[in-house]
Symmetry: C2
Subunit: 327 residues, 2 copies
């Protein structure tokens, strides 16, 4: 089987970020005018200001779609990632951590422009994470960075909603979705954040209607998408547009919505240390299952399993081989 022709379970496209994690009290989140549990975009000056105020930190590779592809690889699946970093030390870290798990990293490290993006993450005593993202080099991801040959190899193309913020990255994501039209290909999207949905509702709805086969949303995001307070209403709407939707609701588990059914999947109980990456790893388990032909309930269970591992420690990526959890 030649390298050119081998299929990839999941090709992800997203903001390539290094996470900078600290433990902080709730008061710090308030003092910094952040909305607990959400993601705020910040510029480089604000990133320096916030970082200077933060406690000693740990640096680990992150980025929502990258975390998902890493999770797929950790289950033994194959993956590739499209995203943009600079040729700086954080970019080296980001590229290393993908390649170390065998994930193909497709975009060259830019020799000029903004530095590698980072996500400053405040983890409060309840395990909730509040994120401030300086996109850096991610802003310049563009349609030319999307290799049609790579997209053609994907069983599932996974799109990160956060990428909808920078305009040229949005165009890259749209281009990727337009390329993934094979009979045996699926396009998956995560809505990422309810404020992100708020910023881009109309174009998200259009993308969902025209391209998306698998949608990931948490409770807040799906309600925000359809501007309703009723989950039932949101579910009725989404099932008209998307073949498969997984609605996650933290410790309450998830609901998989298809044309003619709603499948309840319990969360896997664990002690919550840091919720960073919970949604990303749910998607990883789910998509690994889908690519490998598991039924939808099993896909949801794989998602719960992967999410429970990542919230049991600091950081957005699994600390063990997820295949170990399958035993």
């Amino acid at each position: 089987m030649s390298e050119e022709k081998s299929r990839l379970d999941v090709v992800g496209i997203g903001n390539a970020l290094v996470d900078v994690l600290t433990h902080e009290p709730d008061e710090f989140v308030t003092e910094q005018n952040l909305v607990k549990g959400s993601m705020t975009l910040i510029d480089e000056d604000r990133a320096h200001e916030l970082y200077n105020a933060m406690a000693p930190a740990t640096e680990v590779s992150g980025g929502s779609a990258a975390n998902t592809v890493i999770g797929v690889a950790s289950f033994g699946g194959s993956g590739a990632y499209i995203g943009k970093v600079r040729d700086d030390q954080l970019g080296e870290i980001f590229a290393h951590d993908l390649k170390a798990l065998g994930v193909e990293f497709e975009v060259v490290r830019a020799p000029e422009g903004d530095p590698t993006g980072r996500c400053l993450i405040l983890v409060t005593p309840d395990g909730q994470r509040t994120m401030s993202t300086y996109l850096g080099a991610s802003v310049s991801l563009s349609p030319e960075d999307v290799d049609p040959g790579l997209i053609a190899r994907s069983r599932i193309l996974f799109l990160e909603g956060y990428l909808w913020d920078p305009p040229s990255a949005k165009a890259a994501m749209t281009r990727a979705a337009e390329l993934a039209t094979g009979d045996d290909q699926r396009v998956a999207l995560t809505l990422s954040d309810s404020f992100c949905v708020d910023r881009h509702r109309d174009s998200f709805l259009e993308l969902i209607d025209t391209h998306v086969d698998v949608l990931f949303a948490n409770y807040d995001e799906i309600l925000s998408l359809y501007q309703t307070d009723s989950l039932e209403t949101a579910i009725e709407q989404v099932r008209r547009s998307v073949p498969i939707t997984a609605v996650t609701h933290s410790a309450h588990g998830s609901i998989i919505v298809v044309d003619d059914a709603e499948i309840q999947v319990p969360a896997e109980p664990t002690e919550v240390v840091d919720t960073t990456g919970a949604g990303d790893l749910y998607a990883a388990g789910f998509l690994y299952g889908l690519a490998r032909g598991y039924d939808l309930k099993e896909c949801g269970w794989l998602g719960s399993l992967a999410a429970s591992e990542v919230i049991s420690h600091m950081g957005p990526r699994p600390e063990i081989d997820l295949t170990d959890l399958l035993e």
Copy 2:
């Protein structure tokens, strides 16, 4: 009390490094021709080669003496640190993590030369750490980087044995020791590593004879220093040269050797996840106690307490306020 005149509990001088930590099987340590549990100096090419072979990693600020000063600060003590980084992203991380706990960082970030040093740390399933250090900018620490005014403010000057490897850093350390001659000042040294002792035995012995008031060594290091297999022999030798010696012996606890006594201090039981920083944090607790007038047995107990915290998780620095452990 003006800033110039305020006393500092501990001023540390050492190799300024960012740690790059991965979980690896024992076979990986063997394949890479490393000696388990020790520290090997490597050049930049070898650092890239080893890093490329390593699993996804976590980056955290490290450096032996820096970890110790951070530990002192975490107990509520005051500290400053002398060491050299570049003006790159890893240098920014290193400087941030010191300043975030109120540690004064005295050396400017060099605008040119080698990048910030890093220590590639392989943590095996038994929690043992094996380190490969690329010194980077640390190599160029020099006597001019030692501010006499800062040394004058120290109650304890803490020297890292690892710094004996790069010649100009050795000169910086000697200069600092020569400056710390106040009646109420002490000079402390950690031997760092038995191979490091092997490389520099004679000059270590001279430094110990002429300048050192407090010596930290583990079992292997003190035996290597006096080229003996007998702890009793080593203890008899060291008590003729040094007023206070703390000999650590992992889970067996430590022995504090003074002129007329040997004080046994038990280790604080804990589950070992990663021994990185164990000796550094033992020194932190001990020196905090010494600077604040605790008796020697209490100093040893503070050392055991701090060491037990740091080995209970990945990484070389405490994850909680060490003052919390005192309650």
